[in-house]
Amino acid sequence: MSWDFEQLQQQARDEILKAGDPQELENCRIKYLGRKGVVQEIYAGLAQLSKEEKPRVGKDANDLKNFIGGLLDEQGEKIREGQEKKKPRLDVTLPGVQPPLGRRHVLTQIIEEVCEIFKGLGFVVEEGPEVETEFNNFTALNIPVDHPSRDAFDTFYLNLADPGQKDRNLLLRSQTSPVQIRVMKKNKPPLAVVAPGKVYRPDAVDATHSFMFHQIEGLLVDKKVTFAELKGLLTEFCHRFFGKDVKMRFRPHFFPFTEPSAEVDISWDSSKKSSKKWLEIMGCGMVHPKVFESCGYKKGEYTGLAFGMGVERMAMLRYGINDIRAFYENDLRFLNQF
């Protein structure tokens, strides 16, 4: 038996190059390389050849097989490329199929950012209940019994008796400061705590007032904590939160639970004028000895610093929000901006 390998090669090449789609190419593959294909037939015929002929024809058959195999791959690649070119192109400007995007409320974002800054400085986050006792919210904070803030005009009282104090009702905390009392009654210094949370005051709702709002309280107590450290700590905080270029000032103020007390003002106005626009952002001071006394600390043993800020105010200043009600309306178009 003999085969004209040259002719076979020629024939296979013509047929393969003519194949225009994957099916035609597959037919070629079956014809030449299939189980009953041409190459297989040659291998089957090798047995009948003489010893001398066998190696030569066997080599020719292998060459033919490799040649056809290579050609099939090449042509296959060409067909694929051709087909891809024919496919319509995607309009990549059509919108993606977007999974719903969840966001934290802007007030939460502010609270988390502030707490993260203080956590980075060594503080831990603590919280207290929204329903408080008169003792924790006022008495222990050195707020006198006849102080106006205790009036029903300034504090919400609940129709719920204080189990710890006769003839006293529980109230909604009007500040986060009672968390200071709770922390100090339970723990001995050193203490470094930030306490975010909701507070309540019976203010009629308008663009700048809300009967429910959020505060963040901070407390650092140890031996010999100084006013210089209060300034240093809050300066560091303001630089991290508002940016390094913010101007700050500590202005003396009055709070019953701190002495000395201050309010912190910030300004982005770089002019040297003393009349530049200052915005009040928090209250702070050195913990009043009377507060330590109510928590059972020995007189003179510790000093401490405390500060408190309004979360809504911080958000309003940062984002230019001019109506506090927007935070509680939860309009989707508002929420989606943060």
Partner: protein, 674 residues
Amino acid sequence: MKASINWLKDYVAIDIPADKLIHRLTMAGLEVEHVEKKGGDTVFEMEITPNRPDCLSMIGIAREVSAILNKPLKKPAAKVSLPRTKTQITVKDKKACSRYIGIVVEGVKVGVSPKWLKTRIEALGLRSINNVVDITNFCLMEWGQPLHAFDYDKLGGNKIIVRRGAKGETLTTLDGEKRETGPDVLVIADNAKPVALAGVMGGENTEVTPSTKNIFLESASFDPVLIRRTVRALGLASDSSYRFERGIDSRLVKEGALRAVSLILQEAGGKITAYHDTGSVRTAAVGKIAITPDQIRDLLGADIPASRCKNILKKLECSVTGSGQSLKVAAPVFRNDLKEPVDLIEEIARVIGYDNLPSAIPQIKAVNVAPESRWDQRTAIRGIMTGLGLNEIITYTMTSGEALARAGEAGVKGIEVVNPISQDHRLMRPSTLPNILDVVLTNINRGQKDFRFFELGKVFFPGGERETLSVVMTGPRANDWLNKENRQPVNFYDLKGIFDALFQRLGIPADYNAADDGAFESGRAARILVKGKPAGTLGAVCPNVLKNCSIKHDHLLYARLDLETVYPLIGAAHRRYRRISDYPPVTRDVSLAVDKDISFADMTAGIREKSAGLLKDIVFIEEYLGEKIAGGRRGLVFSLVYQSDKRTLTEDEVQKIHDTILEDIIYRTKAVVR
């Protein structure tokens, strides 16, 4: 409190420009809020903190200026000789009126005020009325002591009685309003009628007019709390009440009266014919406060020379003895706020100016507090919920009985607020649904009908407050323009999927069973069980609730989960890594028709136990409710996944276990293979 720089110059030499002085006052704690140039004068308004009633006068402000600028303070002195004749004054309520001075001046000439007087009081925004009234106002502003002049001849019986008002009794005050007094209000009366609301405003009936010949000058001390209540009850405040509310140095009762009467004699003439002082000066011994430079340094973190401290305190009219290692300080009587060393340290610090004190970063030691807050767990849950595509909302925590009833939550009682801000916020909410529905209504009314919200907020019960995770959602299942099917409205299973994902991520096993709850649509709600304990509900909001709340929308899903039940379980179970099997899983699909009362949970209950540990997963594929299934039945399709950790399972082995399981299901549920 308003102040005029020109007026201040009567008492202290001011050698710096007005804007510098104003800045220094602000930085010493007298925050200037408004500045106005008036002719050759600068008038500014300050916020005086409640601990500093002594600054509610020009003398008080001048004293601060004297300390800030380190200049002496010159106070005006009044020299008046008083007769022995007493006027008739009866104080019925001594607690409410601790001191009352009355001076009768006869033969005054009421007329236009001289220019100097007009200039002074008009600078502070007061209207000039006549010389006598203007002098009382001048002294009020100069000393901070409220004064009132009555037409002596119009006082019935020439008598003054300080007493409580009576029910139905009225007085027309100087502003022309007729007001009811009542027993909660302190009045000044003559023998028949009230003539002034004590500490607040005088009455028209005894007003000093150009025809007045004889006057009765009042200078008194009234209880701050009583005045505050009167102001609130009547909705009437005045320059006098503002000062009484904050407390006035009782010595000023006399000083102010004498200053006023001396000016009246000077400007309106006349003669003092009677005088009476009912009370006494508060002479409670003022204790001395000892303070050392170490104390100052330890609190401020600054070294301030003792001489500087001494000088500042003296300028503030403290008497200071000692030097060097210990100062003994007695605060002036008008400074009730100076009681302890820290109070004096604040005085020193604020006069120097906080901005002139050093600043240092604190060295925070390892903190002694084991936090009990749920901050970390809450933050984790918030992260999961936002990751699942939900937007966080924050709602008010107050509601009303009506809102609860509308929301189908009439059964739960909230805690009453004694002094609510409005009828809609009378209760501390026992459920988040009413407040959540408010947010839904707001958004739907504004045409926003595609949202997924969650809230981490509290609900309140007499036994305590509990944190709750609430979820509310509506809109299409996905904004998927590729696949119309996905644009169907969200349903129960979308909501349940969120909770499945939450519990899976927290590593807490949860079960669900059918729930009937007023707020939810019947047959469309499930109770969430955490470790077998009910911890919440999820499902479709009852259409009636939507109707009651005027929400014009056809589907809304809501869920609430009590986090106090969930929190202790987060991270409680010790997690161990389980080696991933090297051997292939084998999946067998099951398609059964089953009675409608049989749940999927019923069907799969206990089948893992029958698989010799080889059933690794049950994957639900489809529920079929079509007509091709015989009456009262539904089709359920799911796959069972078998896998061993030790070897490749043979077909025969899997088939044997699978047949056992299938037989068990069919036996228990009377299911039919489809």
